[in-house]
Structure formats: structure tokens, C-alpha cells
């Protein structure tokens, strides 16, 4: 095992004389244990690349075996360990967080291969030549467990499988998005599948949401906005640049843009401002079986169904788990789980009390005529509680 920091700036010898200095190593990214494909040597102030097969590691010295070097092209598209990886941030897929590369761990069994990165203090100490005085165990993450960025283009280097990020929980992705640099953030969002991306964006704080929506490329923006809730757009309404906002509203279509406007009228600290406007409602005169049939083709199934009478007025709500327990011939209006509701003007504080007191998961919001216009979900309530307790302004 050898560290990149121990190889960098090391002299390369040829026939007993110094030939040049090794300043970087290119790797072929597309393998689980990428091997070094090129060694960048600095000779008389010029950079040239040589094949690793032309050098041998012997007695702590690196020796050039042949003077007739095959000239390799210096390709910017290559992934360089010093230039593109060392000191940069990468995603630790296992722990699902951002880490900084303090050193790179290589294996030198005939061939030079990258096996992992060191993210511990040991890496920093080693590079400052302090490792002899202060000993710490290296914190090594295997190469397969990280996702790297291409810093020259800002795009994500999807080395192994693109779907690794897609498999992460939106909340975990959101944490990463909040802490990334602007370009890297965009590349992750663009690499995700639209539904995933929309969910992850919704989980980030409002400022990050604003930043992402302001910078997304138009094509991707349309796809992602289509998957986002109107309430999210309403929440960040005043954060986004006006011109960009107009574009977003256009992409949303007239109907959803109107929803956003309605949500805004209620204000973000009230039930009307935080409710979801897409929800399932059924006439209470339907039987459980009929509801089953109507839901059959939809996935994922809603958690809650709002029940109305024949005149669109609110009767109650039922959780899907209670629906499953019910006799398939009974009418919806007879098996409601709860009849509670709130008007749009109700303050969040009161909502929090209601949710905790009655162990609610969902609370329908009604207009003056008692027609359901939205639902508040426990997720939103939890978010609001977190926002109130969190102390997240600067630093």
C-alpha cells in the first residue's frame, strides 16, 4: 500500500540520473479498482506523460526502464488523481455524506491501482510531514464506495453505476445537495431521475431549493418542476429571481400556477399555505370495493382518502390501512377514520397541537363552504417543527 502523497513530486531516475519529477497520475475511471494509465512527469518545466509500464519501483526509488518512451497524449478528459481528486470533495456513498479527499491510497502489486481514499486527519498530517510526531489511524474509504466529480466540466463522474445516487433516500441526497458547491450540485440534480430529483429538492432547505431552481437548465427544469408540489413552489416564491419564476410558472401550466397563487394568499405560516393541493377524494356513497377498483392502477397509493358527500362537502377522511381492514361492501361514509379538519387560516402552532393531540397523520383543509381544498401531512408538520427549532442562519 502506498499513498499518493508519497509518490507526488518524487524523482524519477533513469540510468542513475534524475529524469524528472512525477506530478500526477491518470486513471481509467471505469473499473472498480482503476489502474494508473499514465504518469505525468515534469521535466525541465514541461509536462509529459509516460506509461506506468515504463517504470519500476525499487528500493524506495522509481526508475525508468526504457529511454525510448512511447509518447502518450495529454488528454484533459482523463481523470487525474492530483488535479481532479486530491483535496476535492467526493460523496461517500456508504455513509451518504460529503467528505474531502486528504490522500489517495494505491496498491503497487506490479500494477499501480487506486484502492481508496484517506479522509482522516492522518492524510493531512502525512502531507504536512507531521505524521511522525502525531500518529492517527487512517480513515480509508474504498474506491467503490465513493462518487467523484469531474472538476474540469463540473459534471459528476459516474464511475460504477449511475443508480447508486438514485437509490439514496431523498433526505440524504438533500443533505448532500445543501453542502455541495454550485456546479457539483447541479451535476447531481441533472444526473438524477426527475422524480427522485424533485423529491430530493423538496427535502432541501428553501434557500437551496431556490438556488437549484434558478440554475437548472431549461430542459431539466421542465421535467423536475412537473414532479414538484405546488406548495414547494409557493414556499420559495419570493426566493427565486422573477424572470426565472415566470419561466417556472409557465412550465407548470395555468392550472398549477393558479394553485401556487392561492397558496400564497394564505401565507406560509398557515394551514392554507403549507397544504398539499393534490390529494385523493371520493364520494362517501362509494363502497370500499369500488374505491379499490379506482385506485387499482395508481402507484404509489395515497396514504389518506378524503371523503365527501354527494355535494362535494367534507364528510371525513380514512387512512388506507383502515380501508384495508374494512368490509369491501361497506360505504366509505360509514367507515371514516376521523372527521377533523382545519380552515386555511389556522396557524401552524395550532396545527402542531392538533397533530400531536390526536395523533394525526393527515388533516384535510376546507374552504368556507366546507369543501376540501387540500391536506396537511405530518411530514410537513415535522418539517415546520424542525425549522422552528433549527438555528441555521449563517454558519
Amino acid at each position: 500500500m502506498v499513498y499518493l502523497s508519497q509518490l507526488l513530486n518524487k524523482n524519477l531516475y533513469s540510468q542513475g540520473k534524475i529524469y524528472g519529477k512525477m506530478v500526477d497520475f491518470a486513471v481509467l475511471e471505469s473499473s472498480p479498482k482503476p489502474s494508473v494509465s499514465k504518469i505525468v512527469v515534469k521535466k525541465n518545466g514541461k509536462k509529459l506523460t509516460i506509461s506506468p509500464s515504463a517504470v519500476i519501483f525499487k528500493d524506495n526509488k522509481v526508475i525508468l526502464t526504457s529511454t525510448k518512451l512511447p509518447v502518450l497524449p495529454y488528454d484533459e478528459k482523463d481523470f487525474y488523481l492530483n488535479e481532479d481528486l486530491l483535496d476535492k470533495q467526493v460523496i461517500d456513498v456508504d455513509d451518504k455524506k460529503l467528505v474531502r479527499v486528504n490522500d489517495v491510497v494505491l496498491e503497487a502489486n506490479g500494477e499501480l491501482k487506486v484502492i481508496g481514499i484517506d479522509i482522516g486527519a492522518s492524510g493531512i498530517l502525512r502531507r504536512l510531514y507531521l505524521d511522525k510526531f502525531l500518529r492517527t489511524t487512517p480513515k480509508i474509504i474504498p474506491w467503490q464506495m465513493i462518487e467523484t466529480f469531474d472538476y474540469s466540466t463540473g459534471s459528476i463522474k459516474i464511475s460504477l453505476s449511475q443508480n447508486r445516487l438514485n437509490k439514496m433516500h431523498p433526505g440524504e441526497l438533500a443533505d448532500i445537495l445543501e453542502n455541495l458547491g454550485a456546479r457539483e450540485r447541479m451535476s447531481i440534480v441533472e444526473s438524477l431521475e426527475a422524480t427522485r430529483a424533485a423529491k430530493a429538492i423538496e427535502e432541501t432547505d428553501e434557500r437551496t431549493q431556490g438556488a437549484i431552481l434558478e440554475e437548472l437548465k431549461e430542459g431539466v427544469l421542465g421535467q423536475i418542476v412537473a414532479k414538484m408540489h405546488s406548495s414547494t413552489i409557493a414556499e420559495i416564491f419570493y426566493q427565486v429571481n422573477p424572470l426565472r419564476l415566470r419561466e417556472i410558472l409557465k412550465l407548470m401550466g395555468k392550472e398549477r400556477a393558479k394553485k401556487v397563487e392561492r397558496l400564497l394568499d394564505f401565507g406560509s405560516e398557515k394551514a392554507g399555505g403549507i397544504m398539499r393541493t393534490t390529494f385523493w377524494k371520493f364520494d362517501g356513497n362509494l363502497t370500499v370495493k369500488e374505491v379499490y377498483n379506482r385506485l387499482y392502477n395508481f402507484s404509489p397509493k395515497p396514504e389518506t382518502i378524503v371523503i365527501t358527500n354527494g355535494k362535494e362537502k367534507y364528510v371525513g377522511m380514512i387512512y388506507i390501512k383502515d380501508l384495508l381492514d374494512s368490509d369491501s361492501l361497506s360505504y366509505l361514509k360509514d367507515i371514516v377514520t376521523d372527521r377533523k379538519f382545519a380552515y386555511p387560516e389556522v396557524e401552524i402552532k395550532e396545527l402542531i397541537t392538533l397533530f400531536t393531540k390526536y395523533n394525526l397523520r393527515t388533516l384535510p383543509v376546507l374552504d368556507k363552504e366546507k369543501r376540501p381544498i387540500g391536506i396537511v401531512k405530518i411530514d410537513t408538520i415535522l418539517e415546520k417543527i424542525e425549522e422552528q427549532t433549527r438555528n441555521d442562519e449563517f454558519i
Partner: protein, 419 residues
């Protein structure tokens, strides 16, 4: 839909959401050391240093704009950019100096707290430890957003300086003339005050502060125009208030030939000249500035250092999640406050040394700033234009000359007598 758009334009909240970092960064610049130096500059040299203030406004605006722009475009703090571009060794070098420079700055802030409360007859052995504990509690338990607003609101105390300045019936024609006509004296005290004036206006930690603040606010390229306005306004306001502090002390203390050591002396000396109330407000403004500085500088320092080395940092982490961050804040507060609270500690020497270290640290930071802000790979179309580069280089040269002159004045004063 059109309705929505109109509403958006009418409310103008987006501007309010973006505005702030520049003004706050500028405001924090007028900290204890700042107010002390402005008072001394006015009291000892009258209007003759105003031109330095005038020129430093442009330098401040340019460097703050670069910081804000880099933050907006990359979404990364200055520490992170230095780490990614220049590697661990340079980062460690900058961070170690930054640590000591900021430690000195924190001591200066606590010295400010001590001095301003001594006006109200509270001894420093009491006031300083209490202030340190309070600040730690505010940082760990408080709501930073609210505290920040409170301090901003209190900074309207500075209007007292404007009032006192007018009260003192200064020679405004001379003051305005001195803004644009340079005047240089090759003697230690003058050079010391001059470099201190530059050093408290453009600070290394201020450079980190503005960029991190913009990053934390998640402003994006789209906000650049507004943010520029914010930064320019902030730089202008900073020195606008500084101008009146200098004018106020110049018109009163300088004309009477009163010498002062710090802002407390200034407040006390002002009492018979501008009235009890004005002097008290002067003192309160000084206390506010010192407390805000003592809160922000440790926070920024801990944030920058932990970020640069990849440890967890930020107020939304708990102590258990980010132990290094909170420990660092505690260490900075204890040592910083300790230097002031301990009697007979050679505080003045530390404060002078801090200004020197700050000025010297500015040089490598400016070089990093220059390289980074010209990096097309990093900033693309947002890299520096020619005009900004020229201003940056001129500032760099000016600070270098000032630093050299100052060092000569301190270590080999005889050389200057030749001139």
C-alpha cells in the same frame, strides 16, 4: 399568472432576501479595532488620514465584490477554494496565521467590551468573562438570525457619530478636501495609524466572512447584480460612518490637542465637548460593535478552519456532531477574553502585533484571491475583468508598501529620519 408576476415585482422581497451579506460584512468591519483606530486617527492626525479612508473604500468594495462573486458562482467558501486549488500545505499555512491573527482580533474585541463598559464604571475583570460566557451561550443556544438583526438594528447607534460630528462644528470643506488630497508623514505613529486604518477596513477574516456568508445564503449567479449593489453599499456605509467618527474626533479632540489611547478615552474626552448623552451613545455604539465582533470573529474562524480541513462545522450541528467546531470557538473565546481580563497582560503589544499579522496575512490572501478570481476554469465568464484586476493589484502594492514602511518604522525607526 401575470398577476403572480406583478405581485412578485411589487413586493420586492427577493431583493431583501439577497441584500444583507455585504451590509453586514461592512458593518462588522467597524468593530472595536475599527472604531478605536478611527478615533485615534481623528484625534491625533485630524483630517489628514481621510484620504486613506477614501481610497480604502474602493479596495474594500473590490475585494468584497470578488468574495461575493466567487461565493455566488462556485457555492464554496474561500477556505475550500484555497484548499482545492493550492493544496493542504498552503491551506495549513493560511489557517495557522489566520488563527493567530483572529485570536488577536478577538482580544481586541474584548478589549473594546472592557473599555466601553469601563465608561460605565464596570471593571474588566467582571465584564469580560461575563461577555465571553454570554457569547458562547448565544452561539450554542441562541438564534443567530435574531441576534444578527438585533446587532444590525443597534448599529444605528452609529448615527450618534454623525450627530456628534455635526455638533462639533467641523470644517467640512477641509474634511472633504482631505478626502482626496493625500498627505503622508514619514514617522512611526502616522504610519502605524495609517496601516491600522487599512488593516481594520480590509481584513483577512472579513474576506472569508463575506464569501462564506454568500455561500451559506445559497445565493446564485442570478443574484449577482443585486448582491453587487449590496456589497458596494456595505463598503460605502462602513467608511461613511468611519468618516464621521474621524471628523467628530478631529473637530474636537485634535483641535484641543487631547491624546487618546482607545475609543473609551475618546468617549470620555468627548463628554465635555459634545455633551453627556452623545458621549454615552458613543460608548454604547462602541460596546455594540465590540460585542458583535466578539461574536462573529470566533464563529467565522472556527467555521473557516474546520471547513478547510474537512471537519463538521456549522450551527445546525450539535456539539456531539461537530465537537471540533465548538471546541475551537470555546478556545478562541477563552484565550481572547483571557488576554484582556488578566491584569498587567501586555495587551497593547498584542493588539499592535495583531494589526501587523493581519496586514501581512493580507498579502498571501490577496495573491490567492487574484489567482482564484482570474481562474476561467473555476469562474468561467465570471472571472475578473481588467479593471478589477488593476484595482486589486494597486491595492496589493499599496498594502505592501504600507506594510514595509510600517515595519521599518517599528523595527528601524532611524532609517526614516534620513528622509
Amino acid at each position: 399568472m401575470m398577476n403572480l408576476f406583478k405581485r412578485k415585482l411589487l413586493v420586492l422581497i427577493p431583493i431583501l432576501a439577497i441584500i444583507g451579506p455585504g451590509i453586514i460584512a461592512g458593518n462588522v468591519d467597524n468593530d472595536a479595532a475599527g472604531i478605536t483606530n478611527y478615533s485615534i486617527a481623528g484625534a491625533h492626525f485630524g483630517y489628514s488620514l481621510l484620504w486613506v479612508l477614501f481610497l480604502s473604500t474602493f479596495s474594500l468594495a473590490v475585494t468584497q465584490e470578488i468574495g461575493a462573486r466567487m461565493g455566488l458562482v462556485t457555492g464554496k467558501g474561500l477556505g475550500a477554494l484555497i484548499r482545492e486549488k493550492f493544496g493542504v500545505k498552503w491551506t495549513a499555512f493560511v489557517m495557522i496565521i489566520l488563527f493567530f491573527a483572529n485570536l488577536g482580533t478577538i482580544a481586541a474585541e474584548f478589549a473594546g467590551v472592557a473599555a466601553s463598559l469601563e465608561i460605565f464604571h464596570i471593571p474588566r475583570i467582571v465584564s469580560v468573562p461575563i461577555a465571553a460566557v454570554l457569547i458562547y451561550i448565544v452561539i450554542t443556544k441562541g438564534n443567530f438570525k435574531k441576534i444578527e438583526r438585533l446587532f444590525l438594528l443597534l448599529s444605528f447607534f452609529y448615527i450618534a457619530y454623525i450627530l456628534s460630528a455635526f455638533n462639533a462644528r467641523p470644517d467640512f470643506t477641509l474634511a472633504l478636501k482631505s478626502l482626496v488630497v493625500p498627505h503622508l508623514e514619514l514617522q512611526g505613529a502616522f504610519l502605524l495609524t495609517m496601516i491600522a486604518l487599512i488593516g481594520t477596513t480590509i481584513t483577512p477574516w472579513g474576506q472569508f466572512f463575506i464569501q462564506d456568508y454568500v455561500v451559506d445564503k445559497k445565493l446564485s449567479k442570478e443574484d449577482l447584480k443585486i448582491e453587487r449593489g449590496d456589497v458596494f453599499l456595505g463598503s460605502f456605509l462602513t467608511n461613511f460612518f468611519a468618516f464621521f467618527i474621524i471628523v467628530a474626533t478631529a473637530a474636537t479632540l485634535y483641535t484641543q490637542g487631547i491624546r487618546i489611547d482607545d475609543a473609551k478615552d475618546a468617549a470620555l474626552a468627548l463628554k465635555p465637548l459634545v455633551g453627556q448623552a452623545a458621549a454615552a451613545i458613543f460608548g454604547l455604539g462602541f460596546l455594540n460593535a465590540s460585542l458583535f465582533g466578539a461574536l462573529v470573529v470566533p464563529l467565522t474562524t472556527a467555521y473557516v478552519i474546520t471547513q478547510a480541513f474537512g471537519a463538521e462545522s456549522g450551527l445546525n450541528f450539535s456539539y456531539r456532531q461537530a465537537p471540533k467546531f465548538y471546541t475551537l470557538i470555546a478556545i478562541l473565546l477563552i484565550i481572547g477574553a483571557g488576554m484582556v481580563a488578566i491584569p498587567f497582560f501586555p495587551l497593547i503589544n498584542i493588539l499592535v502585533a495583531t494589526q501587523v499579522v493581519n496586514a501581512i496575512l493580507l498579502l498571501p490572501i490577496f495573491v490567492f484571491l487574484y489567482i482564484l478570481s482570474n481562474d476561467k476554469k473555476l469562474l468561467g465568464d465570471y472571472a475578473n475583468g481588467k479593471f478589477i484586476n488593476i484595482l486589486l493589484i494597486v491595492t496589493l502594492i499599496a498594502i505592501s508598501i504600507a506594510a514595509v514602511l510600517f515595519s521599518v518604522a517599528i523595527f528601524a525607526p532611524n532609517i526614516l529620519e534620513v528622509f
